[in-house]
Symmetry: C2
Subunit: 551 residues, 2 copies
Amino acid sequence: MGADALSTRHQAILDQAVAAARSRIFFSAYPETPSGKIYGETAKAEGEAAFQALLDKPFEPGPNQVGAETSPWGPSLGITYPALDVAALVARAEAAQPAWEATPASHRAGICLEILYRLNRQSFLMAQAVMHTTGQGWAMAFQAGGPHAQDRGLEAVAYAMEELSKIPGEVTWSKPMGKETLTIRKTFRAVPRGIGLVVGCATFPTWNGYPGIFASLATGNAVIVKPHPAAILPLAITVRIAREVLTEAGLPADIVQLAPDTAQQPLAAELAAHPAIGIVDFTGGPAFGNWLREHIGGRKPLHTEEAGINPVVLHSTDDFAGLCRNLAFSLALYSGQMCTAPQNIFVPRAGIATNEGHKSYEQVGAGLAAALDALLADPARAVGIAGAIQNPATLERIAAARRLGEVIRDSAPIPGQDAARTATPLLVATDSDAGAAWGEERFGPIAFLIACPDAEQALSMAASSTRARGAITALVHSTDDAFLATAEHEFARAGVALSENLTGGLFVNQSAAFSDYHVSGANPSGTSCLTDAAYVANRFVIAMARRPVAA
Amino acid sequence: MGADALSTRHQAILDQAVAAARSRIFFSAYPETPSGKIYGETAKAEGEAAFQALLDKPFEPGPNQVGAETSPWGPSLGITYPALDVAALVARAEAAQPAWEATPASHRAGICLEILYRLNRQSFLMAQAVMHTTGQGWAMAFQAGGPHAQDRGLEAVAYAMEELSKIPGEVTWSKPMGKETLTIRKTFRAVPRGIGLVVGCATFPTWNGYPGIFASLATGNAVIVKPHPAAILPLAITVRIAREVLTEAGLPADIVQLAPDTAQQPLAAELAAHPAIGIVDFTGGPAFGNWLREHIGGRKPLHTEEAGINPVVLHSTDDFAGLCRNLAFSLALYSGQMCTAPQNIFVPRAGIATNEGHKSYEQVGAGLAAALDALLADPARAVGIAGAIQNPATLERIAAARRLGEVIRDSAPIPGQDAARTATPLLVATDSDAGAAWGEERFGPIAFLIACPDAEQALSMAASSTRARGAITALVHSTDDAFLATAEHEFARAGVALSENLTGGLFVNQSAAFSDYHVSGANPSGTSCLTDAAYVANRFVIAMARRPVAA
């Protein structure tokens, strides 16, 4: 189908997305419920079969096959991918770029939405691909890897179209000059920055990758997708679908390319530094993030999501049981491997006031530990919530963290999951003085219950650690409106998204497209927000031509 | 007057400015005509008297007086300014920041517009200050230093308000969850990045300084203005007026501070690198620009305007006399010291077709030289157009440039201006092979008439030099629509603002607020456009707080 027809087909969804990004009320274009009624009764089985059919062979034919993905659930995937070098990737992107640039913005949006539509139809396949690369439980792999990621991609397209729509195509400018008028015809065009590079991560390859991919595509940039070597498949499927849509629309497939690499011969730095790369999006650790900020950030637009230490501050609550249940779920969900998962729980040493009376620091720890135990008591349920551990190094971090204080609740493998790498949350008691323990990110199912002099100092330490080391989310519990107002002020200045008094069905880890701004850019957890105007507005520049109109 | 009243007073102008920045039709809030009917019959004399009253004394009392401004028109100004060190400047800005951040955005806009209104009333004083620091002729000093700069400042406020207005204050988010609904109250706030540093230049201290000053102010950031040591006064007057308005509104004056320094002990690098500085705006040379891009650009938003080599491509014309007249004016205006002035005139070696018949390369050069001579024949008119030379080093560059080819028209002082440092345009014939001559910026009244194999190669060289060394403007003359279309495409991809077939009252040097996007950010002439959404959108971040609504 041509790009014009795709544009027409998807215009209504795009309009809704633009309106939702502005109003920030609830909106979702892609159903998060993995229901046969929505996706078709055979969709789940077909997705699983499609995944099985991909295993133990090249994903595409071609030379220089790379790939050694191993499922955190056990098996090696046995899939390889043809790899190009940087020069070849760039040459192909540059060859494809003019056709993409010449495609009207509304048609590019139509292409992007068709890609997202087809990705949505493949959400069950994507669930398998995400589950068996990241270690997410199936339900999260479906939702976060599928519809939620697709919503984030659509959100980026909506922002891009909103910004592009501001630039008038042609204007007649008439300036009164005394008795005469100077009349000039001006034409404006949005010029893409160049080739967008998207460097993916191992835990949420689609959710974190789609904003950059679709923001760069919608603004007219060809895109090279460099997946994490441990999570190639989800982005390989994404790129394959994108190339199919482009080809069917009569456009060069190389507008979107996959750039698989290996841990031994990484491509990301060489790609990012290439002069033809005009934009870099990166999700991953601060080591490479820092390299990018040092070497790339001053030369081209750079959008990163790196690491942070997400704080929780407990002041008081009128639902202690709900607090413990809700926070336990946030700690257990995907075994703390979400960039939004809490790590540091700051609690007054003297305890907190609750609806169940005063709870000492020890009782708070016991309450949380009990809630974790209850949540994870059923191994089948536990494995669905906690998933598997993406990286073996996380197990080493858990072992080391046990020695950082008194273990309130120990981490353990989930029973019956011998083939998988699993670990339930570790909860360690420590003191606010022990910054060496809690003051850095310890990625994985590791949390600290930090005894603080009082709630005010708990808040102050949480905010200052956010400024120093970064955080994406913060959670506070208080029945005191003044304390909440102070928390809102402090965490806003630290650039972190604050949740308050969560005791029910919303969790601090969750960030909803079109409403929750994910990452602020104001602390070390990342340079940019997914998604706001700043995230898209520097992916193109504005060029003008002006000519006097004959009198 | 309080900020709320100022907001009301200026709302209509702000609304018009927002609309104009969107439509990009002609708009100006501040009259460019230095007329007594507009500004008051005594305004000119009062401005001149006010300037005289500032000479030969401290601008403000205080310790550590610095300042050694000398007018390019002759006299030393004898004005000194109290200087603070970086620690003191930052401490004062940080002390003032919370009050500014707490001021509602609409009130901040009212303050900004009141500052601009008062600056406008002082345009005759500003004309003197700009003339006697930059060397601009009086008419340009009035227009570019006064109303045009004020329009650029207003444009930045308009863009800031447009971006800030996108962020809803409070939203109720209701997500259907099966039979239940998850209802969350979300509040959003725009959080300023920190302190804005604006590093001014010596040629257009207000025109280039106001966008950064007002963009940072309007988005809630305190601002430190670090003027060029050779052009402190225009920004000192600006800062004084800003502080008066802030004080009258009951806000801390230190929301805007002046940071004068000396060439011997420059402050800009230390300020830019200070962790409390959240945004850097810089206009100046690529040496410091490159340092900023290397050391600052990856850490905080950086907006630069640096240098470029603005090209002209002559293909053909139906008004040869008009072409020569118009281009001669562009070369002579402020002696080529505008960032938008042409340097390189690419001409086919075989000449061009014109309404006066074929003109050889030599005849084009002769025509331009004759037009320059005619334009500058009357010394009084010449000095009004060409002004004086801001920096003595420019005279050395002219002397060196004479040896780079055959002199078609020599530079000379303007007769009768013995006290001033003046120099009319030098026009040098050279060949397209001689990239060593024309391939770098030679700031000042220096232009090259470059003989090219043909018009296509002329265009191609002009575009490639733009990509390699930067350019802010380009000019093309052609009667061939296909050639113009190619030029539009090539220069758009090089990120340069193109003017076509200028023979009348519009000049390539001119860039009008609210319509002409000044600098694209896509070539080495600068990182950012004055002004687009990208210029303002990263001066604040968005913070959220969310709380479940009790069922």
